[in-house]
Point group: C2
Chain length 763, copies 2
């Protein structure tokens, strides 16, 4: 369940220095957190690390681990965990499997039929594909399903709801189409999968079908597998529909670790469980349902790639959807390994990738997992030669990510107190394919990542991965039409020599509990963007597909291991925790501005809209052959008091400048940076991000406590920054804005005071 | 060959006064060109005119005239001309048929086959459709063809070139695909049809296939006929591919009337004839050709609605295209009728619509032609009751429009001298369907049209057609994403109460020789936009289709007759020629600004592009699985001297203000506006637009002489305003810019002096 292929703007910046020069050693580039002499040593260490990485070995792990279905509860999932445990120990790590006990329904009966105006029974199978060996190894493959959907047996008229996002329901209302008592069919895309049935339920629907439209994810995007990477007609996208924006992890143990004896809430009380049945299907299965719809023609933007005119319904198509599941408790296996730090054993630098897949999971998640394994083997070899990191390294391969970040969430919840005292940073990866480096994360780590990426060579060109990512972002944004002002701003900044910004993190992979629940600065890294997904969460996400069209010789797997490994080594070895405060303060200031501009914009739009309604402009503009009613009358948007947020952001900027100056001065003068002074500063910096956690957490979802980064309640994987304030404005909860501003400003003030304390320690 | 469905922004503005109130008579609204008392009388006249319009009779004419194929050279084409001649005379008009003798090739043999990697023979027929009576009446239907394409028999590898427009060839070059010695297949859209084979030829192609893609014009746009209005799978779009942006009319008599004995150039010297064979086909026929293409995947924006992944080629698809034609001279029949003016018999107000179709031509052109006939019958009845227009009315039904505006062009060329002395304005129409009023034309007539449209009721709502068009433009532009800053500017202007601007005229219908060759202020009017075209230039443009989905009871036909008829009556009866100069001067000033901004923009883009090329950003951003090379290095864009144009536009604005003030003052004081003074002013105003003709015409195409409006050399139907200057900049002919600025400024100055003279006459 990766956050998806990196958008080009997610990608990283570059100096144009070839990495070969950077690792040569004479002219060390700036290395945040390191004294000059130590930086030179660190480069040499990284060169030794790189020498240990072996693409053929990674390929062998990938083939082995993706040989059988490895979803939660499968024998191969456990076997993979045990294989890693044995390897990690062999490589010198102190490793163990931590087992958690989670609610994990699996389907026992799944059926979907068109029952009117004619009959059709959906096949709901992904048949073997010539040349793809694992596609015929279907022993242990579960029927298609969206985990944490409800059981049910429903029959009703069908309504096509486009992506099934909030704006789509507004369009339906303008056409007098209600989904109440009906079954919706939505295409994938436009927002997180779990929102589709959630919104359908909130609008009164009794069931939800989600299909992959070939325009977005099929022949419209790429030649279909096996001719190309694209989704074949029978390929379908499984995935979780738990309400993760409320909390991630086991639905029955919100906020606490799902250990054997943990107290559990009743299933009926679990807020993250969906209330209606939902089923993912292929476009081959979807076609007869969509083609049987009547009613209004779908708006132009709703039309997909099937060769007929899309209609909305309701009916005459009627569907019957039946799902029963085994709501058993199952075991999940996190494999966690440590290598103790020499100077700061109680400062932990964490790294993770999950190992459970939807079926074979070669790309998602094993391509990222084998990079993590390669890093561990290389670090083990460095350790065997006598090296020790200054800080403790913690590497983990999580289980149960696909269902809802189960393994990582339960581990974080179980070890919450220890993490609060010790965690310095968490580095995540998930799927990885050919293409360009994508990175999101905490903006204090932006400089670190830029420096690391500038020092890693792209496997196909004599340029750093940063140079390539930077170029892709510039060229992508300069192509025009499809791009936002934000993307153009980023491209302009890059051309002017600025660092490539990290994308803020929403959700969709294991960084969520670390960053948003526990307040641990996080990075999420991966390569991609060369080819469209095509097999995402399908049976065809296989070793053969991966080797054929994703990363044939795992060169980008090795490159991910370099980037993530260097980040880990620098975090572990830095003289001072490697962060730059001004990248964060400037980003926060921009977020505040964004929200203010957004409020101004929706205020003007509401005024315009009211004028058009009052003057009957919509009625006058009605097209008799395709009538669309006026939009609903939004409430007026009041002027809101963002001043406390502005004040906090401005003060943060001042403190950040002072901190960065003191930090640079300390590192430039090793005589002044005594071990005691460094230890004092590091102690303060290691836990600084926890100041950004607010109590009692975000409105309506207290599990999410970070006041700067969260997944959106109505975007799912997509990030909302300064979420308490932004969502109060977006959801038009005007009365909430004041408290949200106060709480967010308080968190920024707390972080500012933490910086000020560190500045004082460094002076 | 209409200029296409009106875009919403083409549509007209509105006061929200219901037209019913406007025609009641007590409170006459402002009526440009009329003294108050005369305005009241004119409203009464219009009410009598409206009473004469009879939708059932129009429907009967439409059914009769579309009963058989009526392309140039068909028996029914001549029969329709004779029918109209008889009617016009019966209605009291002085009418005659003027015959011209034009080169008009018709196909004798047409064949298209896929010859590799497998064989397929294109059907090239439009089979009967259930419920459409004329679709089985195929006697006299010609094979599909694009008139004025070359004969030829060619075989070669196929290349998909998207729309076949200049930017598409840049994309091909970036993928190292050449069309040299190959056959291109282009989809309709993106620019005028005739440019597709022209550009293909200029890039070395030996043949051209044009097809209608179902995404744009088929099931992707609407349910297909007979279920809806959309283009059925076998429907194909005929059309002219003469190089009309060079000159319109008979290819062998550029600039002179194609009378029986006119001197003719040799076919080989005819600049407007295409050099390679070209054939229009349906998407049913196109599919096997496109599906057989290999090579690079088509860029996302190139992908159509057929259910497979589009590729560019070249090959392995190979095509064989053979076309032979009978290059005969044929007769065309313009039916021209006059009603002499009482006060100014030598001031002509002209109105036209063509009567030839591609097959049955119910929508295009007969729906507009029956409105023109209804106007003539109504005016005849007014005349029979003793009324006479002040100015002479000239109504014409043109032949041969589809092939290249043959009838109108030859008539204008034949009567050039008389028109130069007498023509006041020309009002054109073509296809007409349900929807919203669209209007383009000379901006001096903008106020007139706004006033007329404010006084005509929409047939479906109690609102004026102006109110509805204004609403459609506002709502259309407020929908966001798909809209240009220009459209948003228009919408904002409308909301603030401004007149709805006329679209500038390019080409594609019979206004071209009047406006752009002869310098006669023109309007082009029509309703549309309710349903996508679907049957444009196909066999299925039939009476049954028209009645079923276009304008079932011809209510919008009657409404067009009202709008065009009122415009004609006001032009004929006005005390002073009804024009407002500031609408024109303000529009010209905006065009000057547009061109300056455009030059600035491409200068910056060139600078950015050079920087990206120099820094190898494109190479760094290459996607290994879909490699696209860097764009070509454009020349630097110099700073250019637009000052003479700015000066001319500013001076024009000053004179326009003075003129409009003097004009309003004269009409407000009937005692001052003596007949002699009015005659003097009218004499100056009638011919004022001729001042905008420049000698020796536009660079490379002297037939086009208007310095403000022209069809684009590389947009075809699309307008280029201030064309000499704009195209010199767009085509990067820097050395031409100076002369073009001088010539255009001189024309604006001449027009300003004509206005000044009229102002003096009015004072």
């Amino acid at each position: 369940m990766p956050i998806g292929l990196p958008r080009l703007t997610t990608l990283l910046i570059a100096t144009l220095l070839p990495a070969a020069a950077l690792v040569a050693g004479e002219a060390a580039p700036p290395m945040i957190g390191f004294e000059a002499g130590n930086a030179r040593a660190e480069l040499a260490l990284e060169a030794r690390f790189d020498e240990q990485l072996d693409a053929r070995e990674m390929r062998a792990w990938l083939e082995r681990m993706s040989a059988e279905p490895n979803q939660v509860g499968s024998p191969h999932d456990k076997a993979n965990a045990e294989f890693m445990l044995e390897r990690f120990r062999a490589w010198g790590w102190q490793a163990q499997i931590e087992t958690f006990y989670v609610l994990y329904p699996t389907p026992t009966h799944v059926a979907l039929e068109l029952v009117g105006p004619h009959r059709f029974t959906a096949a709901l199978v992904e048949p073997p594909i010539a040349g793809d060996r694992s596609s015929s190894r279907t022993k242990g493959v579960l029927p298609p399903y969206n985990v944490y959907g409800a059981d049910g047996d429903v029959t009703g008229e069908l309504v096509y709801v486009n992506f099934g996002m909030p704006d789509d329901y507004k369009e339906l209302a303008r056409r007098n189409v209600s989904v109440k008592g009906r079954i919706v069919i939505a295409r994938y895309g436009g927002g997180w999968r779990g929102l589709k049935p959630k919104l359908a339920y909130e609008h009164g629907a009794i069931g939800c079908i989600i299909y992959s439209d070939p325009r977005d994810d099929g022949y419209g995007a790429a030649d279909t597998y096996p001719a190309g990477a694209g989704r074949p007609a029978a390929g379908l996208q499984r995935g979780s529909v738990a309400d993760m924006p409320i909390y991630s992890g086991d639905p029955l143990t919100p906020g606490i670790g799902a250990t054997k004896d943990a107290p559990r809430i009743d299933r009926s009380a679990a807020q993250s469980l969906l209330k209606i049945p939902v089923l993912p299907i292929s476009y081959r299965d979807a076609r007869p349902f969509l083609e049987a719809l009547g009613g209004p023609r779908a708006p132009a933007a709703w039309r997909g790639g099937l060769p007929f005119t899309y209609h909305i319904g309701p009916g005459p198509a009627r569907a019957h959807l039946a799902i029963s599941s085994d709501w058993a408790q199952r075991e999940i296996y996190d494999v966690v390994a440590k290598l103790a730090g020499s100077a700061y054993p109680d400062q932990w630098v964490l790294r993770g990738n999950h190992h459970d897949g939807w079926v074979f999971g070669a790309d998602d998640p094993l391509s990222g997992n084998v990079a993590l394994m390669a890093e561990m083997k290389a670090i083990g070899a460095l350790a065997a030669s006598g090296w020790r990191p200054k800080r403790t390294l913690v590497y983990a391969s999580w289980d149960g990510e696909e269902a809802g970040l189960l393994g990582s969430t339960e581990w974080v919840e179980t070890h919450a107190a220890e993490l609060a005292g010790k965690a310095v940073a968490y580095v995540n990866s998930d799927s990885n394919t050919r293409g360009f480096l994508g990175a999101g994360g905490s903006h204090t780590l932006q400089r670190l990542l830029n420096e690391v990426a500038a020092g890693v060579l792209d496997p196909l060109q004599a340029a750093s991965v940063l140079a390539r990512a930077r170029a892709a972002a510039i060229v992508g944004a300069s192509r025009g039409a499809a791009h936002t002002p934000e993307e153009r701003r980023v491209a302009k900044g890059l051309l002017d020599g600025g660092d490539l910004p990290l994308e803020p993190l929403g959700s969709g992979s294991d960084f969520t509990p670390f960053l948003q629940h526990a307040g641990i600065p996080s990075l999420h890294l991966g390569f991609g963007g060369s080819e469209p997904g095509g097999v995402y969460h399908s049976l065809y996400d296989s070793f053969d597909h991966y080797i054929k069209v994703e990363d044939p010789d795992l060169r980008y797997g090795v490159t991910l291991a370099k980037v993530a490994g260097h980040v880990m080594l620098r975090l572990a070895d830095a003289d001072l925790v490697p962060l730059r405060a001004q990248d964060f303060s400037a980003t926060v200031a921009r977020y505040v501005e964004e929200i203010e501009r957004y409020a101004d914009r929706i205020r003007e739009e509401a005024q315009d809209n009211h004028r058009l309604l009052d003057e009957k402009i919509y009625e006058l503009a009605v097209n008799v052959t395709d009538p669309v009613g006026p939009p609903a009358r939004d409430a007026d948007v009041p002027y809101l008091n963002f001043a406390p947020l502005r004040n906090a952001a401005t003060a943060l900027g001042t403190s950040a400048r002072a901190f960065d100056a003191a930090y640079a001065a300390a590192l430039a003068d090793p005589a002044r940076l005594t071990p005691a002074r460094a230890a004092a500063a590091n102690g303060l910096l290691a836990g600084a991000e926890r100041a950004l956690l607010g109590e009692p957490g975000l409105p309506g979802r207290p599990w999410y406590r970070h006041m700067v980064y969260a997944p959106g309640l109505y975007t799912g994987y997509g990030a909302k920054t300064l979420p308490a304030v932004r969502e109060a404005v977006e959801e038009r909860h005007w009365s909430e804005v004041g408290d949200s501003v106060t709480m967010t400003a308080a968190a920024l003030d707390a972080y500012r005071r933490a910086l000020d304390a560190a500045t004082a320690a460094l002076r």
